[in-house]
Each structure stands twice: as C-alpha cells, then as structure tokens.
Amino acid sequence: MAKLTLAGLREIREREAKKIGKREIHGRDVHVIVAMGTSGIQSGAKVILNYIADIVEEKGLDNVIITQTGAFDGVVEPVVQVYSKALGLVSYQGVDKDTAKKIVEETIIGGKILEDKKIEIKDGE
C-alpha cells in the first residue's frame, strides 16, 4: 500500500463509506422484498433477486434496501413487493427479468405502478 495523501485518505473514505453504507438499514426510502420460499426459488426468484440487486447496485440507488421473505399462497411466483411511503406496499406476481427491470425503472425510480402484474397481498407475512 502506498502512503496516503490527504486526498487519498478522503478517496478511501468515500469509496468504503459506500460499501459499508449498505449495511446501514435505517432510513431507506424504498424497501424491495423478494419472496424466496422453496417454490419461489424453483420458479426463478433467486435469479430475479440477484438481477434486481445488480441493477440497483449498477444504478447506485442507495435509498433502496432489498430483503427476502418466505412464500405466499395462491399467487404466481416469483413475487416481488415494493414498499415506499408514496406508494405504500405494492405486490407483483409472475416477475421475470423484463418485469424486474421495469420494477426498478418504473416503480422504484419513476414511482409508477405496473398494473398488469399487480396483485393484492395485504401484509408482508
């Protein structure tokens, strides 16, 4: 490692703060929940979870937190839920990569609900 200059130290701080900031779970605006029960994983939820996480990372959406949950009954999996103050809890079923991209771009960034994939699930449980 090279000896640091003032600018070098600040650079490290900025870079590392971003990394470590992902462990800070409070005060995020948007909460994305992916249902990861056995059947969810079977129908590709894992791929969708990774895909969403990668787009969120790529676009640098620091205000988004992604967590996982178990399975839901009577829906077409994979299921992805988005929670924000503005929209409340919105649930989507049968999410494929294409829809996942739309969820990030239109719902998370644009604040618009994708009506064709929307279903009603009352609670996160």
Binding site: M1, A2, K3, L4, T5, L6, L9, R10, I12, R13, E16, A17, K19, I20, G21, K22, R23, I25, H26, V34, A35, M36, G37, T38, I41, K46, L49, N50, A53, D54, V56, E57, I65, I66, T67, Q68, T69, G70
Partner: protein, 595 residues
C-alpha cells in the same frame, strides 16, 4: 455481484471463548459450499456488548439478532436465512413464537444506551482499516493536522469537558495543556490499557472492537503537545486486544497514518506496544511509567506529575483507553456537541462492564446521569433467578457499594463520590441477598493486599491489618473495638499511602460499614452471618419433620458428617461438618437449612 446479506459475527473475547471464531469460519465455508460466497459477506466485528447472550450473530438487512449461536447453526443460517429468506426464529433473541423486537435498537438491553466510545464495536471489522476510515475514521486526524493548532485541539477538549475515564476524572485538557507547556524537546504520549479491576473489561473490548480509535486519538495528542512517540501499555493477558492493535498499527503504518510525514503534513509520529505482566499497581500512572522504562512497577511520589516529568523524565500525557476513544469523535463533531451529553458535572457517556448476579451481564454505554436503577433493572434486566437486589459495587477495589436507597442516584463523578463510591474505570458488580457484605469487603481487600507493591508502609501493613480484622469478624471473633480500629487504619491508609491503590483500598470496607452496619453487627454480636456465606458462623441442620431418611445426603457428604438409619431422619455432626453445602444441594425434600 452485489452482496445481499451481511453477517456480523462477534469477535470479542467473550464470544470467541464460546467458539464464535468457528462460527465465523463455518459461515464462510457454508456460503462457499452452498454457492453464495459472492452474495453473503461475513464480517468479524468487535463486542456487541450483550455478552450474556453470546455468541452473537447479526444478519443484515433483515436485522436478525441471533443469540447463543452454535458453530453447527452456520449451515442453517446460510441455507434458510440467506438463501430462502426465512429468519431462524429459534435463534432470535427473546424468541417465543415470533420475533420479540422490530429492530435491534428496540431490545431493552440497548434502548437506554448511547454508543460513543463503542460506536464501532459490533459494526466494523476491527482488522480492516478501511472500515474504520469509512465511518469517519481518521477524519479527526485530518482536522487536527491541517486545520487546528495544538491550542485549538486542547481548547476543543476544554469545551467538551472530557474527564479522564480511568477513574479519577481529571480534566483531560488540563493534562494535555500542562504537558504542552512543560519545557523540553522530547515529550511522550502513553495509553494506559492496564485494566485491572475484577470484572472490568471495557478497555479490552474497546481495543478489540475499535483499535484505530485509540491510535488516531494518540496521534492527535502528539500533534497537540508536540510529541512524536506514543506507547500503549497493555497487560499480556489480553492477547486478542494486543493482536488487533498490532494489526491496526501495521495497517496504519502502511497507509502512512503512523510514521514519517503523516498525510504529507510534515508531522512524524509512531506508537509502540509495551506488555505488562498484569500487576494491578501498574495501572497507577507513575508505576506504569516505571514499568515501561523497564523498572519494577512501583509508584513514585507526585509531584512532579507525569505532565512535567514523566517517561524517562520527559513531559508525558497518560490517558486511559476509554478517554482516548472519545477524542476522535470530539474533534470531528466538536466539543460543544459532546458537552451537551450527560450532566453538568460529567459530560459524555460512560462504559460499564455489568456483571455479577444480573440477568443481562455485558458491556453497556450510557450517557452520564443515567441512574443505577436504569442500568441494573432496565438494561441489566434485574437480578437473576428471582433473587432480591442487595447492592452494586462500582469502582472495583477502590470503590464502594451502592444500596437500594441510592439506586436513583444519577451516575456522574460527583454523585458517586458523595455516596461514598467512585466512578472508577467502570466495573459494576451486582450482588444479591445471598452475598455477605463482610465477605465482599474481605474479597476486595484480599485483592489489594495481594496487589500492593509493598513500597509504602500504610498500604503494605495497613492493608494486611485491615484484612486480618475482617477475617476475625467473619470467623465470629470480632469485637466492637475492631470496628473502631478498622476506621483508624482506614483513615491512616487514605492519608499516608503513596498512591491511589493504598489510598483507596479501604473504600470497600468503609462503604460497607456505612451502609450495612447491621450486617457487621450480626457477625460481631450475634455471631451470625445473615446470608449464610461465612463458614465459621453457620451450621447446617436437618429438619426431622421433612427428612424421609433417603440417605442421599449421607452418601454425598465428603467427610461422613451425616448419620442416621434408612427411612429415619438423619443428623449432621457439626464438629465434623466442613460446611461445603453439598448436602443442601443434594436434598430433594428441602429438609436441610443453614443457620
């Protein structure tokens, strides 16, 4: 690929001794085996504080607080939690059927805490300097090196009103200022990490969980007073803390945060570690300096104070670990911010090691002014096993007991002194009704007699004489004159001892005499030990109406003191009985009692 889960595993000494290191390695292995190594980051952190429940594993972003985790649980944490998104309820703190808390901060143990000293403990990997830097680490050093003069730095500490956390509470800025003003080209900075109070481990945990905070603070001090060399005096029995310090110093040197021309400022500074052999007296600053110099650890008369004539006769600042850990935050956030926390007399927070007969033993950091009741009953969860609270011992062998009536005393330097105890370094031992107060005083005195360096007569002879009198009382041979003599000896020790060890050694005796006179009286006049601890004063008896003659006790008795026929009440021969209590523990019919 982006990480989806962050697993924080406690790497403090407490959790490591219950195999948290194996949990850490298993988690990494399992993540690899189950193909999610690039999605799950496993981080070994410093102490979470909730040692009672260790080993602790926290999983983010779900904020699952897993307690008493076993190495075998690693597989399930990865497969269930990280892969399938199902938090493992049975491992969650306070689990009954569902999670007992929404967020970790909601757990009662953490609710009243405010973490300044322990800000990074349990959050970062202490062996990775980048994680320290990420959380505003070395920002205070930047400020100190490029924006502040030595006087500015000292003034900031003055505004903050930081007082030494080693026990005495001397204003930190004054120490620094004296040293800065003292004449001499060579000056030294010393960190006192010779934590020795029984049951105390605040400094150890701080060094284990956040070593860079101490390194940064010592460097800032170097700049403030014009020193270029620092020493950390730490006891050799803290191997993990030493290891983390060594790693931290190596990384800091590689980045040039220690060494020549730090950050291009032209300021040179480095730190060395000195290992102590664990003598309690070496926590006393002049004895500590002697030990660093390679001499026998014996206190020296003051004045001259170390600020004027310290290490190798040079002006020296010596502060305790916890004091150091406060300093980077004060410089970054400003003294004014710090001065608003706590009470008028004592600013900031204090870390306590809460141990003894308490439900939640562990490391707690609270704002000054928090009451003992809040610490013992809200954070500590009250007395374990439904027993009754008796007293709290603060300040270790130099402190005193605090009883029920003073539980609502706000904790700060002044208040504790007024009720005959002291802040001390932060050991807090909770006692219940089963503890004999005379025995407790004897325990602490035994400790100080053992640890006295023997240089001055008041401490060497006074301590032993006090101990002998206590021994006499616990054997039922004490008289009222003995109590008076104890007072005389205690005052002589307070006035005549060379250092704080001898001056404060009588405190446990004086404070127990003050708050529990009736218990001393019971030992002296009635020849009884109310809590049944003092062996010479108790007798085990069998209640013939309860004894069914099962012979279980007679078979367990190591000295054959119990006799009797099968199915008939037994008796204990008190001449033979050694009062070990095995019979009482063995009896299933509660027929044996202590008198």
């Amino acid at each position: 690929m982006a990480f989806k889960n962050y697993i924080l595993v406690c790497g403090g000494t407490g959790c490591e001794s219950s195999r948290s290191d194996l949990i850490y390695r298993n988690l990494i292995e399992e993540a690899k085996a189950q193909g999610v190594a690039d999605e799950v980051q496993v981080i070994k952190t410093g102490c979470f504080g909730f040692c009672e429940q260790g080993p602790i594993v926290k999983v983010l972003p779900e904020d699952s607080f897993y307690v008493q985790v076993k190495p075998e649980d690693a597989k399930e944490i990865i497969s269930e939690h990280c892969i399938k998104g199902r938090p493992i309820v049975r491992l969650e703190y306070g689990h009954v059927e569902k999670k007992a808390y929404e967020e970790v901060e909601d757990i009662k143990f953490y609710q009243k805490q405010e973490r300044i000293v322990l800000r990074n403990c349990g959050s970062i990997d202490p062996e990775n300097i980048d994680e320290y830097i990420a959380r505003d680490g070395y920002k205070a050093l930047e400020k100190a090196l490029f924006e502040m003069s030595g006087d500015d730095i000292i003034n900031e500490l003055k505004i903050a009103g930081l007082r030494g956390r080693g026990g005495a509470g001397f204003p930190t800025w004054m120490k620094w200022n004296f040293t800065k003003q003292a004449e001499g080209d060579v000056k030294y900075v010393v960190c006192n990490a010779d934590e020795g109070d029984p049951g105390a481990y605040m400094d150890r945990s701080t060094l284990e969980g956040d070593p860079h905070s101490v390194l940064e603070a010592m460097t800032i001090c170097g700049k403030a007073i014009g020193a270029h060399q620092g020493f950390i005096y730490i006891r050799a029995e803290y191997p993990l803390a030493i290891h983390r310090l060594e790693v931290a110093m190596k990384q800091a040197r590689e980045y040039g945060l220690l060494g020549k021309d730090i950050l291009g400022s032209g300021f040179d500074y480095d730190i060395e570690i000195r290992l102590g052999a664990g003598a309690f007296v070496c926590g006393e600053e002049t004895a500590l300096l002697q030990s660093i110099e390679g001499h026998r650890g014996m206190p020296q008369p003051r004045p001259p104070f170390p600020a004027v004539k310290g290490l190798w006769g040079k002006p020296t600042v010596i502060n305790n670990v916890e004091t150091w850990a406060n300093i980077p935050v004060i410089i970054t956030k400003g003294g004014k911010w710090f001065s608003q926390i706590g009470t008028e007399d004592s600013h900031g927070t204090k870390v306590f090691a809460l141990t003894g007969k308490i439900c939640n033993s562990g490391l707690v950091e609270v704002p000054m002014g928090t009451t003992l009741r809040e610490i013992v009953f809200d954070i500590g969860g009250g007395i374990a096993n439904g027993k009754k609270f008796k007293a709290v011992q603060t300040g270790g062998p130099s402190g005193g007991v605090i009883t029920e009536e003073n539980l609502d005393t706000p904790i700060d330097f002044g208040s504790l002194q007024r009720i005959g105890s002291m802040m001390g370094s932060g050991g807090m031992i909770v006692m219940n009704e089963d503890d004999c107060i005379v025995d407790v005083a004897k325990f602490y005195l035994n400790f100080t007699v053992d640890e006295s360096c023997g240089k001055c007569a008041p401490c060497r002879i006074g301590g032993k004489s006090l101990y002998n009198l206590l021994e006499k009382i616990t054997q039922g041979k004490g008289t009222q004159e003995d109590v008076e003599q104890m007072h005389t000896i205690a005052h002589a020790m307070q006035k005549g001892s060379l250092c704080a060890l001898g001056q404060t050694a009588p405190n446990p005796v004086l404070s127990t005499l003050r708050y529990f006179p009736e218990e001393y009286k019971a030992h002296i006049e009635d020849k009884k030990c109310p809590s049944g601890k003092c062996k010479k004063l108790i007798q085990y008896q069998i209640d013939p109406s309860k004894c069914i003659g099962c012979t279980a006790c007679a078979r367990k008795c190591p000295v054959g003191a119990i006799t009797g026929e099968v199915r008939k009440p037994h008796t204990i021969n008190s001449q033979v009985c050694i009062k070990c209590g095995v019979c009482k523990d063995t009896c299933k019919f509660s027929a044996i009692s202590v008198h």
